[in-house]
């Protein structure tokens, strides 16, 4: 979608489609995985055609999500490297949560919270993929039992980290008004950029 004169392009079409592919695969993998995480959520297997089908499908959802994430990782990792401003921002994160964002240090394309979300997702997805292979019985039935035991513990742990991170990620986009359209339409308003990402706004509007 072409930005109008009042809008700034934040994500191109390929980044957005990549993001939504990850999002759909995340819900497929998370719901099928949570079904096995605790008996209270076993009913999620009904969404996937029963217990056996959920067991069959879950690893494929996971591997596809990991591959899709690689695409967005390559595009965005440079913008998410943490710097000194981010440390200052994190020190004041409490004020941000209280709704007083005026005292926050000026932010570039991503603030420290967004960057931490990015790295939390990256690390938890790598751990989920590697440890998931350790007990993917259909393909790797003969791995040592100790490897399976280490695998299931780290898989469950990193799954919780990823789910919590996604909850933060979704909530932030609902909380900070004007954010969601960056991914649904690719653009943000100039006012949004100026107030939430002033350094990025400056870069985007210089010489215009």
């Amino acid at each position: 979608m072409k930005p109008s004169s009042n809008d700034l392009q934040r994500y191109d079409d390929s980044t957005r489609m990549n993001h939504w592919a990850i999002a759909l695969l995340f819900f497929a993998a998370a719901l099928s995985g949570l079904a096995f995480f605790h008996p209270s959520m076993y009913f999620f297997t009904n969404l996937f055609g029963g217990g056996a089908w959920t067991r069959i499908l879950h690893p494929y959802f996971g591997v596809l999500m990991f591959l899709a994430f690689l695409g967005i990782y390559v595009k965005l990792w440079r913008d998410n490297v943490l710097n000194d401003t981010d440390r200052e921002w994190m020190g004041k994160a409490g004020e941000m949560f209280a709704g007083n964002k005026d005292n926050m240090p000026p932010v570039g394309k991503y603030n420290a919270g967004q960057k931490l979300v990015f790295w939390s997702m990256t690390i938890s997805l790598v751990v989920l993929t590697v440890t998931g292979i350790l007990f993917w019985h259909a393909w790797f039935p003969d791995l040592p039992i100790l490897a399976r035991r280490i695998g299931v513990v780290l898989h469950a742990l990193s799954a919780v980290v990823l789910v919590l991170t996604v909850i933060v990620h979704i909530y932030a986009s609902i909380w900070v008004k004007g954010t969601t359209r960056a991914m649904t339409r690719g653009t943000v308003s100039r006012g949004w950029a100026q107030s939430n990402h002033p350094l990025w706004y400056r870069d985007m509007t210089q010489g215009k």
Binding site: N6, A35, F36, F37, H38, P39, S40, M41, Y42, T45, G50, G51, A52, T54, R55, F97, A98, G99, K101, F135, H137, A138, P141, I145, R148, R149, I150, V152, V153, A156, V160, V163, L164, I167, V168, Y171, I174, W175, V176, K177, G178, S189, R190, G191, W192, Q194, S195, N196
Partner: protein
């Protein structure tokens, strides 16, 4: 695979409320006296016959073990170990198979409600119709017993002939054993008999003879009388102190409900944060 009543179930996989457990059956046990075993494999044949299993004809792997390992169609297996002990060569033969733990790691690890059950008589049984084929029972078992079928992706193991026991018969392997090395009865009787046999072996010079009924898994409903009870590893790697792995306990223990609470709590916290603090509004651009 049994006809036992659901009234006799005391534990059920992936179930957080108590199972119907008003009725209390007598706890049973199978006792395998290693010192009386001659390695004839009649128990393997009887197991295959009663359970209508016909495993593939395998290959000789250089030892008497045949098949080479437990499989989805071989639920019990004689394991032969040549062990050097005090200037002697001993041939230690152990009938391997499910130990029917009082605290079963497979049941703890299983994510499918009711796919693994424990009867009040102590038998741990797999319900293949509820099995989803994930292999978590393999991960949970301290004895490396369950096997997943390549044909149907279901888990299989010794049932302790729960279908026979429920109608008052002994397991097929017990019935067929020609030397009386395998006996079956009330658990307390089997413990008493096992200790008596161990005492007899001690009198005959096996100072380390004893009953294998490991406390780490709450005791088992398949027990051994071993000549070398101090070093059960000599018997093809029988663990000396089997327990549910701490990794499995961590994975399936208190951390799980806490993690569920954390995930639900994060959503609820977000909801209340929004209601209390409110959104960060989108502002108009300020021209400088």
């Amino acid at each position: 695979m049994s006809m036992q009543s659901s009234l006799d179930i005391v534990a059920r996989s992936a179930t957080t409320t108590p199972s119907a457990s008003v009725r209390q059956a007598v706890e049973v046990a199978k006792l395998i006296d290693e010192s009386k075993c001659i390695g004839c494999k009649a128990c393997q044949v009887a197991c295959a016959q009663w359970n209508e299993l016909s495993d593939e004809i395998g290959h000789t792997v250089g030892v008497y073990d045949n098949p080479a390992d437990l499989t989805d169609e071989s639920w019990t297996l004689m394991r032969f170990a040549e062990v050097e002990t005090q200037n002697a060569l001993e041939w230690l033969i152990r009938k391997d198979g499910c130990m029917h733990c009082a605290d079963p790691g497979c049941l703890k690890a299983c994510p499918s409600p009711g796919a693994i059950v424990q009867y009040s008589n102590g038998i741990v049984d797999f319900k293949q119709e509820s099995c989803i084929g994930c292999g978590n029972c393999v991960t949970g078992c301290p004895f490396d017993i369950p096997r997943i079928s390549q044909k149907d992706n279901k888990a299989y193991k010794c049932t302790l002939c729960s279908d026979r026991v429920t109608v008052g018969l002994e397991p097929a392997c017990v019935k067929t054993c020609p030397t009386g090395a395998i006996v079956f009865g009330k658990k307390e009787d089997m413990v008493a008999y096992g200790n008596k046999r161990a005492g007899e072996l001690k009198e005959r010079g096996f100072q380390q003879a004893g009953l294998y009924n490991p406390a780490g898994v709450g005791g088992t409903h398949v027990m051994y009388v071993l000549k070398h009870a101090d070093t059960p590893e000599k018997y093809s790697g029988l663990p000396s102190n089997p327990t549910i792995s701490p990794l499995v306990s961590l994975w399936k223990g208190a951390a799980k409900p806490l993690a569920v609470a954390a995930m639900v709590g994060a959503v609820v916290a977000g909801f209340f944060h929004y209601m209390k603090v409110g959104p960060i509004a989108e502002k108009e651009e300020e021209k400088s």
